[in-house]
Symmetry: C2
Subunit: 137 residues, 2 copies
């Protein structure tokens, strides 16, 4: 008998959830290989992600499940889920709808680069769409 | 006057350290684009990483700074450091000495892939070098 992930709990038990029941999750873009963002999942978020085939995170600021793209339409289609050696980090391979992962309207959240000359963080990725246009005023 | 990162504290203050004074750090391989691992840094670890040009993490299990490769020789040469939109995650672009990032002797720590058919995690990356040969018996 074959069991789809979600039927059983074993694959969820293999994750080393932290004291808050969360695990950090890296979203990497399938085609470009770019790391888009880091977010968090709880057990329910991971199960729903796998069932839905779209990234569902746990929003620590809002204290609830967050189906990414629920407002913006910028969902992440999940192609692969990986767990690391210690079981305490996940890696998703995703296709990013709209080409925008960041709430600032940028392609990715990692847009600040440390500059060795100025000694500060410099924004090095353009805003593709104004947040007001994504989320409304 | 130019200030190298490390001289001042402003760039370190920009990081949203968590309650334990840590931030999650993704190490991505420069050439392949593969995500090698996720680890943690405190303020001192990040400053030393930038000064040294090699990844220095905070080992949560050992409760001390961990200059990656100090035992194995598998240091990570850091080419770029990025901070995300909320300031609570870092992304390093690295060159992995020895081609082995994982303490299991694999290229990367994310070697367990969720299999939709079996419903479990499957190891999909080979051990390149036995841990005993890396760390000694």
């Amino acid at each position: 008998m074959q069991a789809a992930p979600g039927d059983g709990a074993e694959w969820l038990d293999a994750v080393a959830w932290n004291g808050d029941g969360l695990v950090p999750v890296i979203a990497q873009e399938a085609d470009s290989g770019q790391v888009l963002m880091l977010a968090w999942m709880n057990r329910d978020a991971l199960r729903r992600t796998v069932e839905l085939g779209e990234a569902v995170y746990w929003s620590r600021s809002r204290g609830r499940l967050w189906h990414k793209g629920e407002t913006s339409g910028h969902v992440q289609h999940v192609e692969e889920v990986r767990l690391d050696c210690d079981g305490d980090a996940l890696l998703l391979t995703v296709r990013q709808a709209g080409g925008i992962a960041c709430h600032t309207g940028r392609h990715r959240c990692f847009f600040q680069r440390l500059d060795g000359v100025s000694g500060g963080w410099e924004s090095v990725e353009p805003v593709l769409k104004a947040p007001e246009a994504i989320y409304g005023e």
